[in-house]
Symmetry: D2
Subunit: 301 residues, 4 copies
C-alpha cells in the first residue's frame, strides 16, 4: 500500500472533485470536501474539508510569494477554526532529529506564544489576540509515549478551544515537496505524516476540534520506482506489471533499516523556509487584531 | 529572600541534623529527614527524605568516581521508589536553551526508554526491566504552559507508578556546584530549581509519587555579594549590616534583565558530565535486572 | 586583575575621555580613541577607535529601537571598514554550547552569505553587495585549535579585505549586559571575551584589518562582590579594604571549576535578540546597496 | 551519470578485483587497490587503497559487533597512516543541519581532542597518545567557503602529519547504507560525499596525507528507479532501455529542489550509532597506547 500512499487529499486516487482557484503570485487554492463514508473509504482518509495551497516548486521563492502563502494559510485556518476560539494549543508533531520530519518543532519555535501573559495584558490587547500555547511532544521511538497520548493529557488540562497540529507529510509526487500546504479540519489520521503516527489526533480522541496543517517534505522510496515504470509503460502498464514492479522494488529498496524516504538534499534550508511560512500563517490567523508588523514586534521582544 | 535561597536541604539554615557517611572514591552521603510541619516551615521546604551525595569539586573527575556516584544515586532512588514500581515517567525539567538549566533535558537524552517496546519484549526481559518513558515539558516562558500543567495531563493519561523529575538547582554555596546530587521523595516545590517552577510537582498535584533528582548548577548573584561581606565582617555581621548589604547588592546586581545567576564558564562540559552520571543512576535504578554493561548494550542499539 | 576586568573601553578606569551623543530611541553613542602607547597601557587595551552604542537595559525592547541600534551599528562599521572593502569574512567567536558565549555563532547564522554566489550574480547586483563569507571556529577546549590559528589559515587563503569578529564580552557593570554594543577597529586582544581568547586576532596576526563587534553578556563573579563593598563603603573604601575583600571573594567564589560568570537567567532569549540586532547591522553595513527589506528578501530564500 | 554514482570503490562497475576476508561478528573486510591511471579512469576514482568493512544491515546491532567494527577501523587506519604520525587533524565534513549528511560533525563530537593539552601532559602520556585536533568546516552553501579552502588554510597553519576526513557517502545500493565503512588513503575526490564536495581534499591540495573515512547514508533517488527497471528487465536491459529509463526517471524525480536523496526515516538514530563506531575507531587508531577503557576515561572528563 505504501507505493500509493499520500497524506494529500488532492493526490488521492479516484478522488472527489476539487474546486481550484488561481490566486496571485502563482498560488493555487484547491478545496476537497469529503462528505460521506463511502468517499472517505474510497479516498482512504476521514470526512472533512481539505484546503490545498500550491505554489511553484523552487529552491528559492521570493518574500512576496512567501507572504501571500502565509496570508492564504491564515485565511484557510480562520475559516476552519471554531467560532470565537480564543485559547488555542499549537502542536508541532514529528522528530526534531530527522531534518525532513522537523517541520512541526521548527514551526512551533516561530509561533507567538501568549498564554503565559494572560494576566498581564490590558483588556484591549486581549480582544485582539488569542491565548496561544505550544507543545512539541516528540515521537514514540524516542520518548516511549505516543504523540496522541502526550497531547490528550495536555489538552484535557489546558482545555483549549482548538488544537492546530503541524506535521511533515509524505506525498505521492515529488513535485509536491515544499510546494504545497494542506489545511484540514480532520485532525491527524493514523498512518499519516512522515512519522506514521499510530493513533488518531481528532476531536473524538482529544475532545476539541483539531486542525491539521501539513507540508509534504518526503516521498516514499517505493513510489519513485513505481512511477518510473508508469512513465516507461505509459497507459500500457497493466496490473500485472505493477505487481511485478512492486516485487522488484521491494528487492531494490532495502527496508532492513525501516521505511526509506526520498527528500531534497537542501532539506534544512527548505524546512526553515516552510516553518517560517506556516508559523506566520498561524500567527496571523490566531491574532486577527494584529498585522504582520505587530506580530513581528511581539516576536522580537 | 533570594540571598539565602537554596534548593539543597543540607544547606538550609538551622537545619535538622543530617547523618553523614563517607563512602569510597571520596563520595559522602548525607540524609536529612524532615518529619514534622515545624521543621518543614523552619527549613523552607516540604516534609520528606533528602539524600545528598557529594564528591570533590573538580573540573575533571575520573570514570571510577563517576560510576560510584551513579551507583549511589541508583541505590538512593531504589530506596525511595514505591515498592513494585514498574512503569516510570522520567521528566527532564528546565530550559534546554540555557546551558546551566539544561541538565533535565540532557539527562533525558541518556535515559533508556522501554515503554514502546512493551509488546515486543519476552517475558523474562520484562521481569528485569521497568517500562520507562520520558518527557521534556519545556518552560512557561517558551511554551505558555506551566511544567506542572504539562506533566499533570501526561501523568493522568500514562498512569505511571512514579515520576522522577530531574532538574538543575540553585545552591547557596558555589562549592556545591556540580559536586552534589540531591535525591528527594518530596517532588518539586514551588520556587525551586534554576527556573523557579511556579507550581508544585508532587504526589498531591500529579496523583503519583514524585521523586526529585537535582544537581546545583548555579548560585544566585546576590548570594555572592552577601557571602563576601559575611566573610569580611565575620561574626560581627549584624542584622543591620545584612540589611545594608542587601540594599547595596540590589544596587550592584542589575536585575532589569531578571534574575542573575552565577555559573562556571565551562558549564557545557559540566552539564554533559552530570547528565551522564544522573542518567546512568536512573537507568541502574529502574532496570535492576540489568547491569551497566547490558544497559550500555541496549542504549547502543 | 579579574576583579576590574572589562572588555568595554568606556568602562576602563582612568579612561581617556569619550565623546557622547544622544540619538533617537534612547540610544547613546560614545567614541573612545586611544591614540598613544601610554593611554593604551593605562587603559589595558590596544590603540584604536572604540564606538559604544548603548540603549536602556530591558528584558524586552521594541522593534523600532532594535532597528535603530542595527542602523547605528551599520554606520559605525562602515566608518571603520577599509575603503572599497568588497570581500569580507565575518567570524563568530565563542562556544556555541555555553549560552552567554554563543553570541558569535548565533549572529553568524543570520549574516547574509554571498561569496558562493559570486559567479552567478548579475553585474549590477555585485556593485550593490559585498562578497561575504563566514566562519565559526569554535574554542580551543573543544577543537584543540586556537581561534586565532583557525582564522589565520582561513584568512590567508580566502584573502578578504577585512574580517569582522563577533564576540560575547565581559563587562565590569552588570548594567551593561545586553544594553551595549562595542565596535572597535582594534581586533580581538588576548584575554578578551567571555572565552578569554589566548592569542590576538589583529591586522598584525591575520594580515588584514580586523573589526571587533561585541556585546557584554556576562560579568565576572568576583566583580559583584567587589562592587558590593564599594557600594557599602562608598568613598571610604581604601586600597586595604579592596585587598581584604578580594581575599574574601576568593574564599567565597569557588573557582575549582574555573572562571565563574554572572549572567541573566533568560540569557537564551537575550542572545537571540542581540544576535538578530548585530547581524542586521552587519548585513546593512556590508551591502550598502540593499535596504533592510531587500536583505530580508535574500535571507528568506 | 548520477544514476550509477557511488562513493564506494567496491561498488564501482567493472572494478578491479578485491580481496575479501570474513572476520568475526559477521564482519567482512575487502581491499581494493587501484594502482594505475587506466584503472583509476575506469573506476572513476583516484589511485590508492580502499578498505571496506561490512556488517549485516540492521536497525539494531549489538555492542560486540559495534566494538569489532571500531577495532577493524582502527586497524585499517593504522595501516594507512604515515609512520610516526603524531599530530593529526580530524575533519568532520558535511552539513550538520541535514541529518544524513551530519555524520562528519557528529563523529567529531566524539573524537578525543588532545592538542590543547600538549604542554600539560607528562612525558610518558605523550608517548602513548597523539596530538589530535578537530575541525567541522561546514558547507559552501552555508558559509560561502569551500570545505577544501577552509581546511587548506588550517592545515597550512597547524601542520599535522596527516588529516583524517570523515564524511557521509552516497552508495549505489541501499543495502550498503549504515552497513559499510570505507577507509581510503586517497583523500576526498571532487563530486564525492552526500554534499558533492567541489574541490579535492588530497595530499596534493593540502600538502599532507589525507585519509578518508566514509559511511554510506544515502542513495540517489534516480538510482532506485534505474535499479527497479534493471530488476524488471533482468539481463535483457539494453543501452536503449537505460536511456529511456533515465529520461523517465528525470520526469519522475523532481529535481527542481536540487538533488534528491533516499535515506532511512530512522536516520537520526543511525547517524548517532555510526558516529559512535567511527569515532571509537579513530580514537583507538590515534592513541595506540590507550585501550578503549582509558579512552572512555579521558572522554568522560
Amino acid at each position: 500500500m505504501r507505493a500509493i500512499w499520500t497524506d494529500l487529499a488532492v493526490e488521492a486516487r479516484g478522488g472527489v472533485g476539487s474546486q481550484t482557484q488561481t490566486l496571485s503570485n502563482g498560488i493555487e487554492r484547491a478545496v476537497v470536501k469529503i462528505e460521506d463514508e463511502q468517499s472517505a473509504a474510497k479516498l482512504g482518509r476521514p470526512m472533512g474539508t481539505y484546503v490545498t495551497l500550491s505554489c511553484p516548486q523552487r529552491l528559492s521563492i521570493d518574500l512576496e510569494t512567501r507572504r501571500a502563502l502565509s496570508a492564504e494559510l491564515a485565511r484557510a485556518l480562520r475559516e476552519l477554526l471554531p467560532q470565537g476560539a480564543r485559547c488555542v494549543l499549537v502542536a508541532g508533531l514529528g522528530n526534531r532529529g530527522v531534518t525532513p520530519d522537523a517541520l512541526g518543532p521548527r514551526t512551533i519555535e516561530r509561533v507567538l506564544v501568549t498564554r503565559h501573559m494572560d494576566g498581564c495584558l490590558p483588556q484591549d490587547a486581549r480582544r485582539r489576540m488569542a491565548s496561544v500555547c505550544t507543545a512539541t511532544p516528540g515521537v514514540l521511538g524516542v520518548t516511549g509515549v505516543e504523540t496522541a497520548e502526550a497531547l490528550r493529557g495536555l489538552t484535557a488540562h489546558v482545555q483549549p478551544d482548538a488544537v492546530i497540529a503541524v506535521d511533515a507529510l509524505a506525498a505521492r509526487s515529488s513535485a509536491r515537496i515544499c510546494s504545497t500546504i494542506q489545511v484540514a479540519d480532520t485532525g491527524i489520521a493514523p498512518g499519516s505524516g512522515v512519522g506514521n503516527h499510530r493513533k488518531a489526533l481528532t476531536q473524538k480522541t482529544l475532545g476539541v476540534p483539531v486542525l491539521a496543517v501539513g507540508v509534504p517534505m518526503v516521498v516514499y522510496a517505493s513510489t519513485i520506482a513505481r512511477d518510473a515504470l508508469a512513465a516507461m509503460e505509459g497507459d500500457d502498464a497493466s496490473e500485472e506489471d505493477e505487481a511485478r514492479l512492486t516485487a522488484c522494488v521491494e528487492r531494490v529498496v532495502s527496508e532492513r533499516l525501516g521505511e526509506m524516504i526520498v527528500t531534497p538534499r537542501e532539506v534544512d534550508a527548505l524546512v526553515e523556509r516552510m516553518a517560517g511560512i506556516v508559523a506566520e500563517g498561524i500567527n496571523l490567523a490566531l491574532h486577527p487584531g494584529l498585522n504582520a508588523s505587530e506580530i513581528a514586534q511581539m516576536m522580537a521582544q
